[in-house]
Amino acid sequence: MPIVHQGVVVDNKKIGSYYVITATAADMPKEFKPGNFVAVAIGDERSSLILRRAFSIYQVNDRGVYGGTVDIVVSPHGPGTDYLANLKRNDPINLVGPLGKPFSLPKNPVPCVLVGGGYGAAPLFTLAEALAKRNCRVDFILGASSSEKLFGMLEARRLSTTLTVTTDDGSSGQMGKVTDVLPEVINKSNAAVVYACGPMKMLEAVSKVATLHGIVSQTSVEESMACGIGVCMTCVLPVIGEDGVTRMLRSCVDGPNFRGDKVRWSEVGTVPVDTYGAPKIGDH
């Protein structure tokens, strides 16, 4: 069960162009599963920003000196993320979590490829550990626009059989996109599952590649969220259900982790005409 926790910042480290914030989180670590996220309040009741911001849980520690803590990776680019990037040790921070459906893990010890784009790598390290526990081979691919936007290379190397790195500008690893190298990594590792977190365009491309190779993909999507807990309906995208029917599903509670082949990527941001309950007349 998720909780609301008024915590404090234990640490805020700048790594590359990101800020890794460690916050006290009481019992959240006990409830945590890889792929969960937290919703963070931006300031107190004096703040004019009333909506929480969602961040993948990067690490948890359930019995440190501060009791339970969670780590998030923040990429500052707007008022909320800028605010968080400027938080200092002992500043108050209010978290709701753990939220969202976690990654689903394979029953059998099959090889898995983990693909992280920029800060999208954040949720993949706890996932890698969980997969390792199930004796799954893990191969990592990390991509970003340029080297300072890569996150977690050392950990990725430690937790994987192979690590492949790509950057758009070639400032580190191979020049290009993660999907340029994905097919080869899948083949070499004999992967049965691809897990991916990053920009929507990347997720779309990754799930295409997985489908081409006839393997499953789990994609962690990023939709604008007002509540993060399933009550507001702002975070939807068209996803095909077991019954073959497309529904507008809430990425905060039905996701953020979806099977890549079930998401109608090219139609995200629209309501496909064959969607369950799609508008005929008088929509508003």
Partner: protein, 317 residues
């Protein structure tokens, strides 16, 4: 660990039509789905009532994203009434609420006067429903898409049709839009049409332009403005309606964040309040606000919530 209301000597219970409710604090339609998700954070039977997301006759996908934009001390939303349709709603959502023992106010919405009536019909004699909130802030497809709530005649017709088709034992609340020249006038019209009470207010029509694209940010272009930003407008509407209709039960809402905010609404004339947008900021808000109101009444050495309702209309001593 769910948050439960603190023990308090203050009597927060209200006589809501024919029902005794433990608290005057409700959820707001569209800000609590059908209670299930919130029940992880608070015990939904500990609050006054769960007001469910407006349900329509048919299932609805709602609008394309982006469906929201953040605004100063508020937000803009254009969900497009995504929902399962009344049959599924009764079968699944309402069943869950009843099994929990929650007090439910079902919010309904329609594209035509007839559709409102049909939904009301379906809710006849369904247990657990302590009230129907009629969301008339919908475009009337039979009247150039003019919003029912903005035209006294269409609003009247809708309330008539709901009243005719629902069981007389279930009170009908008409939910009013602030986007009108004279909200007291609309209030009188719907009460004359048979509304047992009023929900005040729905969102204000607004727009946010995405300055990256220089186009409206929401897929529906305009959306509904909510949150603390609109509170002064909501308090004014409640006050004006209470002036015009001294006795009608009012559920007040609009930007309520704290117990102090809630007190403004009670003093202005609200008999109960709904907490909407701020639930997104604090999933425990309904219970926290209940506790904060108790503390404030204690400080002011009042005994019961009824001591402050309508206080702003009494002559200054």
């Amino acid at each position: 660990m769910k948050r439960f209301p603190k023990r308090s000597s203050i009597d927060m219970s209200i006589d809501f039509m024919n029902q005794k409710l433990p608290s005057p604090i409700f959820t707001a339609s569209g800000c609590a789905a059908a209670g299930k998700e919130l029940d992880q954070f608070i015990d939904i039977t500990s609050i006054g009532a769960v007001v469910t997301k407006s349900v329509m006759l048919q299932p609805r996908s709602g609008r394309a994203t982006p469906r929201m934009a953040e605004t100063p001390s508020g937000m803009l939303n254009g969900i497009g009434l995504q929902g399962p349709g009344i049959d599924d709603f009764i079968e699944k959502d309402l069943a869950w609420l009843n099994q929990k023992g929650a007090k439910t106010i079902v919010s309904i919405a329609g594209n035509s006067v007839e559709e409102y009536g049909k939904i009301a019909e379906k809710l006849r004699d369904i247990s657990g429903v302590i009230g129907i909130e009629v969301n008339i802030s919908c475009p009337n497809v039979e009247n150039r898409g003019l919003v029912f709530a903005c035209d006294p005649n269409s609003a009247t017709e809708v309330i008539h049709s709901v009243k005719r088709n629902s069981s007389s034992s279930v009170p009908i609340f008409a939910k009013l839009s602030p986007d009108v020249t004279d909200i007291a006038h609309i209030a009188k019209a719907v009460v004359n049409a048979g509304a047992d009470g009023l929900s005040v207010i729905n969102t204000l029509l607004g727009m946010v332009i995405d300055t990256k694209t220089l186009r409206p940010k929401l897929s529906g272009k305009t959306g509904g403005l909510s949150g603390p930003a609109i509170r002064p407008v909501a308090v004014r509407c409640v006050y004006q309606i209470r002036q015009a209709l001294p006795k009608v039960p009012i559920i007040g809402m609009g930007g309520i964040r704290t117990g102090n905010d809630a007190l403004e609404f009670f003093a202005a004339g609200a008999n109960a309040i709904s907490v909407g947008t701020m639930v997104f900021n604090d999933p425990e808000a309904c219970v926290r606000i209940h506790d904060e109101v108790c503390e404030l009444l204690n400080e002011k050495s009042f005994r019961s919530i009824n001591d402050v309702i309508n206080a702003a209309h009494k002559e200054q001593i």
